[in-house]
Amino acid sequence: MPVMSYADAAKLAVAEAMRDDLTVWCVGEDLGRGGVFKQYTGLVEEFGPQRISDAPISEAAIMGAAFGAAMAGTRPIVEMRFADFALCATDELVNQIAKARFMFGGQSRAPMVIRKPMGMWRSSAAQHSQSLESWYTHIPGLVVCCPATPQDNYSMMKAAIACDDPVVYLEHKNIWASEGEVDTNHAVDFGKAALRRSGRHVTLVSWSHTANVCVEAAETLAHQGIEAEVIDLRSLWPWDKAAVFDSVRKTGRLLVAHEAVSVAGFGAEVVATVAQNIPMKALPKRLGSPRGLIAYAPNLEDQMRVTAPMIAKAAQDMMENEPA
C-alpha cells in the first residue's frame, strides 16, 4: 500500500473522481497554482483551468455559484482556503445550499463538497484558526466530515464527492503533511466511526486531529495500566452513536476531547446523548478549548489547546474518582 500525506491522499481521491466523472470540478482562489496548502498541486495540468478553476476573492460567489452549478448538473468541490473565510459565505451555505432541496419539495439537489481547512496551525491567530464543526452539525441538510488520517482523507473525500447531499468537509491544517498508508480499495461510510484503539477502562471519543492526540494519550495510559478505547467519529453528522454506546456500555466511562471551544461544541452533543441513554460508572467528561480566543504568541495559543497529557490526566482522574 502506498504511503502518502493527508494532503496528497485527498488529492488522489479528487483526481480519481475527476477522471471518472466529467461533471466533477474544483473552484477556489489560487487553485491553478496548487491552492494555498498545495492540496491541488498538479491537478490543473491534468484537468485544465476550467475544471480546476481559479476564483476571484468572492467567497459568497464561490459558494453561491458552485451551488447554482450543482443545480445545473455539475458536482463542484468548493475550496474555502481557511474555514474562517467560509463565514463570508454563511448565507449561501446555510440558507441556500442546506435548505434548497427541502424548500423546493425535493425538486433540487446540491451535490457539493465544501472543503474548509480548519484548526490551529502555529501562530495563525484568531481569524485563521477556528474549529466550527459543531455549527454545521446543527444545520439540517448538511453532512459533516472531519477526517484525521491520510486513509480517511482519501476514503471520505471519495465518499463526499459521490454523495448527493452537500458535505462540509473539514480538513485539519496541522496534519497536511502527516503520512500514512492509503488503501485505495478501502471505503468509508458516513456515520461509521473508526476504532483507533480498543480498551476496556474508558472510552475516548474524538475526531479530526484531536483523535490522533487521543491515540497518543491512550499509549501513555496503557503504560499506567489503563486501557482506553479510542473512537474516531470521522463524520459528525451522521455520527456513530451505536459504536459509542457499545463502547461506553463496556467501559462505563466516557471522555470526549476536541479542539473546538467546549461550550456548545460537538462534545456536548456526544456527552448529552450518551448521558441520556446510558448509566455510567463515572461522571462523563469533556475536554475542549476554554471559551477564549486563539492568540498569536505560542504560549498563549497553547492555553487553548487540548494535549495528550491533559487527556491522559482526565482519564486517570475518572478511574480514581469512582463513585462508591
Binding site: 461533471t23 470540478w25 476550467q50 475544471r51 478553476s53 476571484p56 468572492s58 459568497a60 460567489a61 459558494m63 453561491g64 455559484a65 458552485a66 451551488f67 447554482g68 452549478a69 450543482a70 443545480m71 445545473a72 448538473g73 455539475t74 448565507d91 449561501e92 440558507n95 441556500q96 434548497a100 432541496r101 427541502f102 424548500m103 423546493f104 419539495g105 425535493g106 425538486q107 433540487s108 439540517p140 441538510g141 448538511l142 453532512v143 454523495c163 448527493d164 447531499d165 458516513f190 456515520g191 453528522w237 451522521p238
Partner: protein, 331 residues
C-alpha cells in the same frame, strides 16, 4: 411603440400572460385577506407584470430562470401551472414544492424555474453559477436572473455579476426597478446608480421601460439572442412600479399621497397593453373576455387548492438529505 409593426397575436398573448399573473395574485390576495387561506406572507407583483412577461417569452423551455421573494409572475411566465402554485401558497398537497416552500420559495424545476428566494440578492450568485454549470457541461441554454433595485445594495450583487463577467457566462441579469426596498425609497439608500454599477462590472447594460411589454419584449429578444449566440452576460434595467404594497397586508403609507394611484393610472402595463390592442383594432370585449378567462382559471386553481388536503405529516422529514436524514434519526 410603433403601431405599424404591432403584432396582434403576440400582443394578445402578452396581455393574456399579464392578466393571468394579475388574476393569480388578486385571487391569492383575496384568499389571504378574506378567507385566511394563505398563511405566510405573499409579495405581489401587481404593476410589474410586463417584466416577467416580456423577458421570459424570449426564453426556451430549457433555459433557466431564478427569482426573488416576488416570484409568482416569473414562475407563471416560465410555464408553471397555476394550480400547483396556488396549492403551494395554501400549503397543500400537490403544491409545486409539496407545501414546504410557500410563496417565497415557489419553484418549478420542470420548467427550469430554479426558485424564488427569501434572501434578497442571494439568487444572483446562484444564477451566475447555473450559467457556469451550463458552460461546463457545454449546453446552449441561457439563464435569466431577476432581482429588485434594493438587491443591488447587497454584496452578492457585485460578486455574482463580476463572476458572470469573469467567466463569460450566458446569463441575463434583470433588475426590476420598482423604486422601493420594502418601505424605503431605494434611491435614498443607494449611492450612484444601478445601471452604472453593472457597466462598471463590465456588462453590456440596457435600460428599458419595464411597463411597456411590447418594446421590452423586443429589447429582451435581441439581448437573449445575443447571449445565446455569444455566451456573454448582459444586464437589463427595467423601470417599473409596484402598485400594491410590499406584502399583501402592507398599506404602503410610506408612499407620497396619491403616488400609487397616479402611477396606476399612467404606467400600469396591463392598461397600456389594452390600449395598444384597442388602438390596433382589437375589440375591447375580446380583451375583457381574456381577463375574465384569466380570473376563471385562477378561481379554479383556488378551488382546487382549497379542497386539497394538507401534505402528509411524514413529508416533513423527507427531502432533507439522504445521509443522516431525519427519517432515520428523528430525535
Amino acid at each position: 411603440m410603433s403601431l405599424s409593426n404591432f403584432d396582434r397575436e403576440a400582443g394578445l398573448a402578452r396581455l393574456r400572460m399579464m392578466e393571468r399573473i394579475r388574476a393569480f395574485e388578486e385571487t391569492a390576495r383575496s384568499a389571504a385577506i378574506d378567507e385566511e387561506l394563505v398563511l405566510g406572507a405573499i409579495h405581489l407583483s401587481i404593476g410589474q407584470e410586463a417584466v416577467a412577461t416580456g423577458v421570459i417569452e424570449t426564453l426556451r423551455r430549457d433555459d433557466y430562470i431564478l427569482s426573488t421573494h416576488r416570484g409568482h409572475g416569473h414562475t407563471l411566465a416560465k410555464g408553471a401551472q397555476a394550480d400547483a402554485m396556488m396549492k403551494e401558497l395554501l400549503g397543500r398537497e400537490g403544491g409545486c414544492c409539496g407545501g414546504k416552500g410557500g410563496s417565497m420559495h415557489i419553484a418549478d424545476f420542470g420548467v427550469r424555474m430554479l426558485g424564488a428566494n427569501g434572501v434578497v440578492g442571494a439568487n444572483i450568485t446562484i444564477a451566475a453559477g447555473a450559467a457556469h454549470g451550463i458552460k461546463l457541461l457545454g449546453g446552449d441554454q441561457i439563464v435569466v436572473c431577476f432581482f429588485g433595485d434594493g438587491a443591488s445594495n447587497r454584496g452578492p450583487f457585485l460578486e455574482g455579476v463580476n463572476w458572470a463577467g469573469v467567466f463569460n457566462l450566458p446569463i441575463l441579469f434583470v433588475c426590476e426597478d420598482n423604486q422601493y426596498s420594502a418601505s424605503t425609497l431605494t434611491s435614498d439608500m443607494t449611492s450612484g446608480n444601478i445601471a452604472d454599477r453593472a457597466r462598471a462590472l463590465g456588462l453590456r447594460t440596457t435600460e428599458a421601460d419595464g411597463n411597456d411589454v411590447t418594446t421590452l419584449a423586443a429589447t429582451a429578444a435581441e439581448i437573449t439572442a445575443r447571449i445565446r449566440e455569444t455566451g456573454t452576460p448582459e444586464f437589463l434595467m427595467a423601470k417599473t412600479y409596484r402598485i400594491s404594497g410590499h406584502t399583501y397586508f402592507d398599506p404602503a403609507t410610506y408612499r407620497p399621497e396619491g403616488e400609487a394611484e397616479r402611477m396606476q393610472a399612467t404606467t400600469c402595463p396591463i392598461a397600456r397593453q389594452r390600449e395598444a390592442l384597442v388602438a390596433a383594432g382589437v375589440p375591447s370585449a375580446e380583451l375583457d373576455a381574456l381577463a375574465k378567462e384569466a380570473h376563471a382559471e385562477m378561481d379554479r386553481a383556488l378551488d382546487a387548492a382549497r379542497s386539497a388536503p394538507w401534505p402528509a405529516d411524514e413529508t416533513a422529514f423527507a427531502d432533507v438529505q439522504d445521509i443522516g436524514s431525519p427519517l432515520q434519526e428523528a430525535f
